[in-house]
């Protein structure tokens, strides 16, 4: 199926309505950082980027997605529901007793969640280990990755690079304040994890205000360059066509580097997406106060009107 920008935009719109709906219903949650990441997530899941099969959870060749900014669980749930991992009706159970949709993603409960997250800085670190493990499995010719030795063999590992699954991790920009992110960044480059792609939702705001005021991580691009990552920028993290182009570029570059193997030294890739916190709901946009607050019924009605519901 080819990339269809209009379809992705419609998916994103539906996800935004679901996010507003479920957080209002729950009475708590994180709308700001869910709405800023919606277009990235919609493109990943519905823009022919992520290889996944909602009907085959143990498919070893699937790409892995880890929501390192676990508090943005609603955007992940909205994507997974539309992707067919569970019934969309279940979104209404968010944060409620007995629900599989926990306040932060729980891999023991919900299909499609690769690993539980919520404590910041850990998801990217897990993604690093997972990317290394998938490379190792491919190099060992594990049935898990079903390597076809006839094509594209990586001379450094003996692995068929085109069959190594990719690992995507979505981080918040505030999350970059966690030291563990940089422990992982240093190690991912050291291990030449070309199959790791980190996505930064750079909405410039955290709970206590502007990142630049609280504790600036800028320049994010320069920091990752200094850590020997491949760095790409998406100027408008809400333009699904630009998002798609950058995600494709990241993957193509990485595949090329992986196929060449040593000495081209595949590096992990980071994409910095410039986004707007609360994107799509006028009264939430660019407001740190909407980091972790649920809308009232009236606010929900207005938000859904703006989202064309």
């Amino acid at each position: 199926m080819a990339f269809n920008a209009e379809q992705v935009r419609q998916r994103a719109l539906k996800m935004r309505r679901d996010i507003v709906d479920m957080i209002t219903e729950a009475g708590s949650g994180h709308p700001g950082g869910s709405l800023s990441a919606t277009d990235i997530m919609a493109t990943l899941y519905f823009g022919e980027v992520l290889n996944y099969d909602a009907n085959n959870l143990t498919w070893q060749e699937r790409d892995r997605f880890i929501l390192s900014k676990g508090h943005a669980a609603p955007v992940l749930y909205a994507a997974l529901a539309q992707a067919g991992y569970f019934d969309r009706k279940e979104l209404a159970t968010l944060r409620k007793f007995g629900s599989r949709l926990q306040g932060h993603p729980d891999s023991r409960k919900l299909p499609g969640v690769e690993v539980s997250t919520g404590s910041l800085g850990q998801g990217i670190s897990v993604a690093t280990g997972l990317a290394a493990g998938l490379k190792l499995a491919a190099a060992n010719g594990d049935s898990a990755t079903d390597v076809d030795s006839s094509t594209d063999t990586d001379p450094s590992t003996g692995a068929n690079s085109s069959k190594i699954p990719f690992v995507y991790a979505l981080l918040g920009d505030g999350e970059l304040q966690e030291g563990q992110v940089w422990e992982a960044a240093m190690f991912a480059a050291q291990q030449k994890l070309g199959n790791l792609i980190a996505l930064i939702d750079n909405n410039n705001l955290q709970i206590d205000g502007e990142l630049a005021e609280v504790n600036s991580p800028y320049s994010i691009e320069e920091k990752f360059k200094a850590f020997n990552w491949q760095v790409l920028t998406c100027k408008n993290g809400h333009d699904v066509e630009e998002i798609k182009a950058v995600l494709d570029e990241a993957r193509e570059r990485a595949l090329k580097a992986l196929a060449q193997g040593e000495p081209s030294s595949p590096a992990p890739t980071v994409i910095v997406f410039n986004t707007v916190k609360g994107k799509g709901v006028s009264f939430m946009e660019n407001k740190a106060d909407w980091h972790g607050v649920a809308p009232s019924k009236e606010q929900k009605t207005q938000a859904l009107e703006e989202l064309g519901a």
């Binding site: 891999s107 690993v115 404590s119 670190s125 280990g129 190792l136 563990q180 291990q191």
Partner: protein, 332 residues
């Protein structure tokens, strides 16, 4: 009062080996047996001995450098790729510095990660209090989904590492730096470490007057104390608690119902470790009011940090040695 011989080698050659010496070689054995093991260490792979695995299978050894939080989560990621992932470092860093990673990633998601640091307890010796971890059992015991194994010697450390690899999900294996006497041997089914299991304790010396429940290096100290007590006509039963969580309640209760007196012995804080686990077990029994004829005694580090010194000096200072156990029993 009987005198303790602090150096038995004068009249009897005792084989000594550190529990950490079991680490790297057991990982290699497991790999050779077809278990998909990997090790993640944090710049201490020589000390923990995981470097031995790196020599035979470099692609299975991940050295993250001095970054213990990343060590735990990288292991978590490797487990998601189907690996049986062991982590290393010293116990103080491998548990305390990475506690949130062990809690929120490894235990919460119930991943197949083994927390197996070395250099636990006071027996780290010269490095001093900053490096002598005496709260790790408490930290690991409190975590849902975590199992806690404390091997007493080299053979039981091998058994613990094997059990960890064969058990799906998080397991903590506590190993030490110092050479300690070999207690287990494969000469008989009674003395072999190979049948140690999750949830098993082993009666390593039978007795009828008092039960010494010990773990780690304190099993040897308890056995020495039992010798001293025997000379005074006191018959001490010594139990190696090996599996602190799950605890072998049956073996411990059977012994206590026989002796009516318990002294717990651990190279760990008296808060939250083996002593706490045994106390919790005993007070919750329906016959708790008559179970103990003497008050429970807990040998351990008394809510303080460690300090530099050699093994004998420190075990005397912290009242962890056989003489201290002997004294405590005599005061009952």
């Amino acid at each position: 009062m009987a005198e303790l011989k602090t150096d038995k080698t004068a009249d009897q050659k005792i084989e000594k080996k550190a529990t950490r010496a079991a680490y790297g070689e057991t990982l290699i054995e497991l790999l050779n047996e077809g278990i998909d093991v990997v090790a993640v260490d944090a710049d201490l792979s020589g000390s923990t001995t995981t470097a031995k695995l790196a020599k035979v299978a470099p692609e299975r050894h991940f050295n993250v450098g001095i970054a213990e939080q990343n060590m735990i989560c990288v292991a978590a990621g490797l487990s998601l790729a189907g690996k049986t992932a062991f982590t290393g470092s010293f116990a103080v860093f491998g548990t305390g510095r990475a506690y949130d990673q062990i809690r929120n990633t490894v235990c919460y998601a119930q991943l197949n990660v083994k927390i197996a640091p070395t250099h636990a307890g006071i027996s780290v010796c010269a490095d001093g209090g900053s490096h002598q971890m005496v709260e790790d059992i408490a930290l690991m015991r409190a975590l849902p989904n975590m199992r806690v194994l404390v091997p007493a010697d080299y053979p039981s450390a091998k058994a613990a590492l094997r059990l960890a690899a064969q058990t799906s999900g998080p397991v903590y294996v506590r190993m030490g730096r110092s050479n300690v006497p070999i207690i287990y041997d494969d000469s008989s089914p009674v003395t072999t470490a190979s049948t140690l299991n999750l949830g098993t304790a082993r009666v390593v010396r039978e007795g009828s007057d008092v039960t010494l429940v010990a773990c780690g290096v304190e099993v040897d100290q308890a056995l020495q104390a039992a010798e001293l007590l025997a000379a005074d006509g006191v018959s001490a039963e010594v139990i190696d608690a090996f599996s602190i969580k799950p605890l072998d309640e049956k073996t411990i209760l059977e012994s206590v119902r026989k002796t009516g007196a318990v002294v717990t012995c651990e190279e760990h804080s008296v808060i939250g470790g083996l002593g706490s686990a045994v106390a919790e077990l005993l007070v919750e029994q329906p016959d708790a009011s008559v179970l103990l004829r003497k008050p429970l005694q807990r040998i351990g580090v008394q809510d303080r940090f460690g300090t530099s010194g050699d093994f004998d000096e420190l075990f005397a200072e912290f009242a962890l040695d056989a003489q201290a156990i002997y004294n405590r029993v005599k005061q009952l």
